[in-house]
Every structure is written in structure tokens, then in C-alpha cells.
């Protein structure tokens, strides 16, 4: 295991947090119509198990997972299924993807919750199965199905749990608000995850300066009387909330470049994921809502809303006082890694952590790109300890071999190199364009390896059959001669 001290590089940025944390967490009004894409998690899309015209209850499963890495989807309100058809989706940048559309009858009739048994009395295996049915995915942004992640670390021992409460990017405050207002749920979720994954200890990490969240979590941990839990403060450096960076900051350990945190005995979850698990196991409330930060210079009343999945982004903005007249761009996610949305008529999905309605004050137009002067500022800023200036040259040359050798696939696309580049080179944009080429090359090589193995296995089999046939023939001749 490689030890390292803290986060390499990174940036100290103005967080713009006060805008959206000034108002307490609010519950958004239930929308009249909910649009739920069936592929809003990482992995295989879910398969709808309801039909058009059917009435569904709040919390009723409406799509089932297909394959190992997939997740359940539940109705976030009671009502009628009015369509199962392709609709524009935010994670597809407005391209249509198969979605289940529910017309909300505003009665909020709930599905019968399954009898709640104390989680400590169940075996980890039972608990894992129960967690899988709650449709919980990683709420930090990647939306990786939680059950699949827990399943993949079954063999890893000893295991320590790490709950990530460090915001990934400036502007996003949904985790901060969750820690302030629902600290007990996070702590309960941590204890459930500890039990389900048979981990021995749990560290909850949050950024320096989150005093209110810190106090709330401290109280909740004290009330839980669980000495396996502890609170860790990490420096307020972007991107300390990145999984690998957080592990370096908290434990001083380096995750192998071709491995996972589980390889060094760690399991990392977002605090929001822990709270969602707690709601599901304690109350039988599946993941049908999430906290979304609505912020930016173009929203009249920025804040955090508890939103039903499937509600449209336009309604969220309306409930935050609507747009000001300075609006210029809508971004889903943070200010450095978020995606620009084509319009606001898109649904909130499990991965929507933040909506930024940005104005020209938020956006800095990029100046004309100048040649690289080899100053090396990018490699000093790179939290993945790569050499962006070298990657830049190799991607211009389309030298895939050199790009692979220099670790392009380990780029976390945080944008630190872009940000510090005095020549205004859009480095991350280049890397994002080149990554699929490299991924394809890797896949091709894997295909070739598999083809070669089958070819060699076939050759060996044909050889064996020939030898056996010769032996059988010789045996027959011998027997005949003896007769």
C-alpha cells in the first residue's frame, strides 16, 4: 500500500455556499406529472413492470433491475401511468430515453410498507437483499447501484466505511444541508451499512468550515452511542470530495490506479446514500426523492429543496422564485464538472445534486486558446498526479499508446488543469474527447485476447482428439493382430 500525505494539488475556490444555505431545507410541492427515465443509474437500464393506464401507489416498484449492476425504480407519488415512452433526459443531455410518466393524483396513497424489523436482528445477507429492493444508488453523482457496490466488497476484509460529506464542487450544498438537518438519518444509515457490509469502523468526513453540519453530526453520533463512528475534518480544497482524493486526505492512503478502494479495505459512500438507506430500512420509504441545490446568480431565492424524482427542473426554479433576467446558462451538477442542459423541461433524476442557473457573473467566457508554454502549473494542480501538459501533446498527436502509458484513463475530469492554465487551453475537453478512443482500444484488445484464447483452446482440443483417435486406431489394430 502506498502512503501519501493529503491531497495532491487541487484548488482553493470560492465555494458560493452561503447563497443556497441561507434558507432552511424545504420540501418541494409535489408536481402534477413525473417523468422517470429507466436508466437513471449506472449499469443496465431497469425494465418497466407496470403498464400504461395502471394506477400506482407512492413507493410501489415500477421498474425492476436487469442484470448484476442495475436498480429498482419506485413511484414517487400515487397516480396513473400515462405513458411509457422515450422522453428527453438530463443525463442524456436532452436526448430521449425510455421513461415512465406518472400523472400525480395528489392523494399520495402509499404502498403497504413491509414490516419493519430492527436491522441488527438480520443477517448481513438478508439486509443486503433488503437494501437492493429500495432502489438506492450512490447519490454523490455517479448513481452507482448501492447493492452492487456492497456486493462487490463481500470478500474484502478488514473493511472500513467512509461516508463522504465533503461537497464535490463549489455551489453544491445538498450534502451540507442534509448533514445539518438530517444528521440522525446519516448516522443510522452508517450503522446499517456497517452491519450490512460487516465493516469494523466508519469515518464520516466533512470539510473544514462546515460548523453547523459538524455540530449536528457530533450530537447525532453521541446520541447513537456507537463507538465505531467517528468524525473527520478534511481541508477545504477542491476536489477533496473525490473518492480517491478523500481517501488520501482521511487515511493517507493511495487507491491503486487499476483498483478500487475495496482493494485497500475501504468502502466509500456519500452521506446522502446513507440517509436514503436509513429511510428505506427504518420507514420502508424507497428512494423516491432527493435533496437538490438550486442556485446561481439567476435564481431569485437560491436554496435546497427535497424534491420528488421525476419533477421537472422548471418547477424547481419556479419554487425558488423563478429566473432573474440575467440568465444565460443552466447547469446540472457543479460549476466545474457539471453538464450544460439544453432547456429546463427535464426531470430530476437520482443523480441530480445541483441545478445552477448561471449568469454572466457566474460564467467566465473563455479567452482564445494560446500555445502551451510548458509552465507545468497543470501538473502541480492535478489531484490525480498526472501530467496534463504531456497528455495535451499526446492527445493532439492522437498517440493512444503514450496516452495510456501516461494514465489518461485515471483523469477524474475535475478541471483543475483547465482552471490554472495561463494559455486557456481546454484540457479536460480534449481529455474527454480522447477517453472514448482509448476505452475502445482497451476493449478491442480485450476482444483480441479472448479470441486468441478461444483459438488456442480449439487448437489444443483438435490436437487432443487427433491423438485419441490415433491411440484408438492403434489399439484396434493390436487387438485384431492378437486375434
Amino acid at each position: 500500500m502506498i502512503r501519501r500525505s493529503g491531497v495532491h494539488g487541487g484548488l482553493q475556490l470560492e465555494a458560493h455556499n452561503e447563497r443556497s444555505t441561507a434558507r432552511p431545507l424545504r420540501r418541494a410541492n409535489p408536481p402534477a406529472q413525473l417523468v422517470l427515465p429507466v436508466d437513471q443509474h449506472a449499469g443496465a437500464p431497469a425494465r418497466p413492470i407496470v403498464r400504461e393506464g395502471e394506477r400506482v401507489l407512492h413507493g410501489q416498484p415500477i421498474a425492476e433491475p436487469t442484470g448484476q449492476v442495475s436498480a429498482w425504480l419506485h413511484a414517487p407519488a400515487s397516480g396513473r401511468i400515462i405513458a411509457i415512452e422515450p422522453r428527453p433526459a438530463p443525463h442524456r443531455l436532452g436526448a430521449p430515453t425510455l421513461s415512465i410518466v406518472i400523472e400525480n393524483d395528489q392523494r399520495d396513497d402509499r404502498a403497504e410498507p413491509s414490516p419493519s424489523i430492527a436491522f441488527e436482528q438480520r443477517s448481513p445477507a438478508e439486509l443486503l437483499e433488503q437494501i437492493a429492493r429500495g432502489g438506492v444508488v450512490g447519490l454523490g453523482g455517479a448513481a452507482f447501484p448501492l447493492a452492487a457496490k456492497l456486493d462487490s466488497v463481500r470478500a474484502a476484509r478488514p473493511l472500513t466505511l467512509l461516508l463522504n460529506g465533503a461537497e464535490c464542487e463549489p455551489y453544491i450544498t445538498c450534502d451540507e444541508m442534509l448533514m445539518r438537518e438530517r444528521a440522525e438519518e446519516i448516522v443510522l444509515g452508517a450503522r446499517i451499512l456497517l452491519h450490512a457490509s460487516a465493516a469494523s469502523a466508519c469515518a464520516i468526513a466533512l470539510e473544514a468550515g462546515s460548523t453547523l453540519a459538524d455540530a449536528a453530526l457530533r450530537t447525532a453520533i453521541a446520541n447513537a452511542h456507537d463507538e465505531r463512528l467517528r468524525l473527520v475534518t478534511v481541508p477545504n480544497i477542491y476536489p477533496a470530495g473525490g473518492e480517491r482524493q478523500l481517501i488520501a486526505a482521511v487515511f493517507g492512503l493511495e487507491v491503486p490506479y487499476d483498483g478500487l478502494p475495496a482493494d485497500i479495505g475501504l468502502l466509500c459512500h456519500n452521506v446522502g446514500t446513507a440517509a436514503a438507506v436509513a429511510q428505506w430500512i427504518r420507514d420502508g420509504q424507497p428512494l423516491t426523492s432527493r435533496i437538490v441545490t438550486v442556485t446561481g446568480d439567476c435564481v431569485r431565492e437560491p436554496g435546497n429543496l427535497d424534491v420528488r424524482l421525476g419533477a421537472s427542473i422548471r418547477q424547481l426554479i419556479e419554487q425558488c422564485g423563478g429566473y432573474t433576467d440575467r440568465a444565460s446558462r443552466l447547469i446540472m451538477g457543479g460549476s466545474l464538472m457539471g453538464l450544460a442542459l439544453p432547456d429546463d423541461d427535464l426531470p430530476v433524476i437520482k443523480a441530480t445534486n445541483c441545478i445552477i442557473a448561471a449568469s454572466h457573473a457566474d460564467l467566465q467566457p473563455r479567452d482564445r486558446e494560446l500555445p502551451c508554454i510548458r509552465c507545468g502549473a497543470c501538473s502541480e494542480a492535478c489531484p490525480a498526479m498526472l501530467l496534463p501538459q504531456q497528455l495535451h501533446w499526446f492527445s493532439r498527436l492522437a498517440d493512444l499508446q503514450a496516452l495510456e502509458a501516461h494514465g489518461l484513463m485515471d483523469c477524474i475530469e475535475c478541471g483543475c488543469c483547465d482552471y490554472v492554465c495561463p494559455s486557456q487551453i481546454p484540457l479536460v475537453e480534449r481529455f474527454r474527447e480522447t477517453k472514448p478512443l482509448l476505452a475502445r482500444r482497451r476493449a478491442e484488445r480485450a476482444d483480441a485476447r479472448a479470441a486468441r484464447e478461444r483459438f488456442e483452446a480449439r487448437a489444443a482440443r483438435l490436437e487432443r482428439i487427433a491423438v485419441e483417435q490415433r491411440a484408438a486406431l492403434a489399439h484396434k489394430r493390436r487387438v485384431r493382430r492378437e486375434d
Binding site: 466545474l336 457566474d362 460564467l363 481546454p426 474527447e433 478491442e444 483459438f455 487448437a459
Partner: protein
């Protein structure tokens, strides 16, 4: 004195011969390693277009200077270039005489209605990508097919054709990846200024 000299000469000769024999014994192993390395550069289509029965035999022929580096159409000019660089030979494009490749990856497809279950294609497939049994319909496992086309000539009822490979089966970037790539340009045209406040 002469006797001693004679003994010394004979001993020296014996030692030289022994060393030569030892080197000769090692040479094939050195060859094997080289062949493995060349084989790793080939696309493993096992199509035989190079006139050898599979990629490894072609690699062996290259190493033993029985074949040139420009005989692999599936590998294309890129493979020819890396073979030339590895072998220290002159780089040249693939010789079109060894066959042309379709612009996009293709895989074999069996018309299961016409198939009579003769197993001839199964025997021809170099990578065991066709399943079926005598007098039962055969089918191609698309994900395993390398597109070598060796199954087409033996078919007595001409029920095999080449079809474009599905992206997932042949490791093309997915739609999502393409969308992301397209988005990256748009996304980064303006970036958020953290120092504006």
C-alpha cells in the same frame, strides 16, 4: 610439448562446440518469446488472409523472415506500422492483394430457416463462435465472432452472411459516451468563474 598442445586444442574445440550446442538449444526459446511478442501485436482475427492458418503462425513466419509485415488486412496500416517498428523493418501499408476489409466491423449471421445443420461452419470457425449440432440449427455468438468470414465458403446452402456488428458486441463507444464527447465541447465553451465574487 606437442602432446600438451594437441590436448589443449582438442579441449578448446570441445568447449566451443559445447557452447555452440548450448546456444542452439537456447535459440528456439528466444524465437518463441519473439513470436509471442509479435503475436501480441496482431488482431487475433484468425482469418488466414495472410496465407497462414491463424495469427500465431503468421507471427512465427514474420520472426523467421518467411513473411512480410504487410499481410494483415484486419490489423490495417496501424498494425503494419507497429510490426515494422518492432521488427526493425521498413514500414509499408497493407498489401491489398491479401484482401480488403469492410469500413465497419462485421460479424457472421446465419439464416436459421435455411440452415440444414451440417456443422461445416462450426468446423471452419477458428474461435468456436458458432454453436449447434448435427441436423440442428446453428447460430453465431456475435460477441465472439471476429468477422474472419471463414465460415462462408464451406456452407452448402449459402445461408451465412456478414452483417454490421452491434456496437456492444464489438466494443464501439456507446451512445452515452458519444453524447458526452459532444457535450464536452458545449460545456466548456464558458466556464464558471470562482473568483467573480
Amino acid at each position: 610439448m606437442m602432446l600438451l598442445l594437441a590436448i589443449a586444442i582438442v579441449a578448446a574445440l570441445a568447449a566451443t562446440a559445447g557452447a555452440a550446442a548450448a546456444l542452439a538449444a537456447r535459440a528456439p526459446r528466444l524465437d518463441e518469446r519473439l513470436i509471442e511478442q509479435v503475436n501480441a501485436l496482431l488482431p487475433q482475427t484468425q482469418c488466414g488472409r495472410c496465407t497462414f492458418v491463424g495469427c500465431r503462425p503468421y507471427a512465427a513466419a514474420i520472426v523467421r523472415a518467411h513473411a512480410d509485415i504487410n499481410q494483415c488486412p484486419p490489423g490495417g496500416d496501424q498494425t503494419a506500422a507497429s510490426l515494422a517498428a518492432f521488427m526493425g523493418r521498413k514500414a509499408k501499408p497493407v498489401d491489398a492483394g491479401f484482401g480488403l476489409m469492410p469500413p465497419a466491423p462485421m460479424v457472421a449471421w446465419i439464416d436459421e430457416v435455411a440452415c440444414i445443420g451440417c456443422t461445416k461452419c462450426i468446423q471452419a470457425c477458428p474461435v468456436d463462435a458458432i454453436v449447434g449440432a448435427s441436423r440442428y440449427t446453428h447460430t453465431v455468438i456475435a460477441a465472439h465472432c471476429t468477422g474472419c468470414e471463414l465460415c462462408i465458403p464451406p456452407c452448402p446452402v449459402d445461408c451465412i452472411e456478414m452483417r454490421p456488428a452491434r456496437p456492444i458486441a464489438k466494443s464501439q463507444p456507446s451512445n452515452a459516451e458519444q453524447a458526452q464527447t459532444q457535450a464536452a465541447g458545449d460545456r466548456n465553451r464558458g466556464r464558471v468563474c470562482e473568483l467573480s465574487a
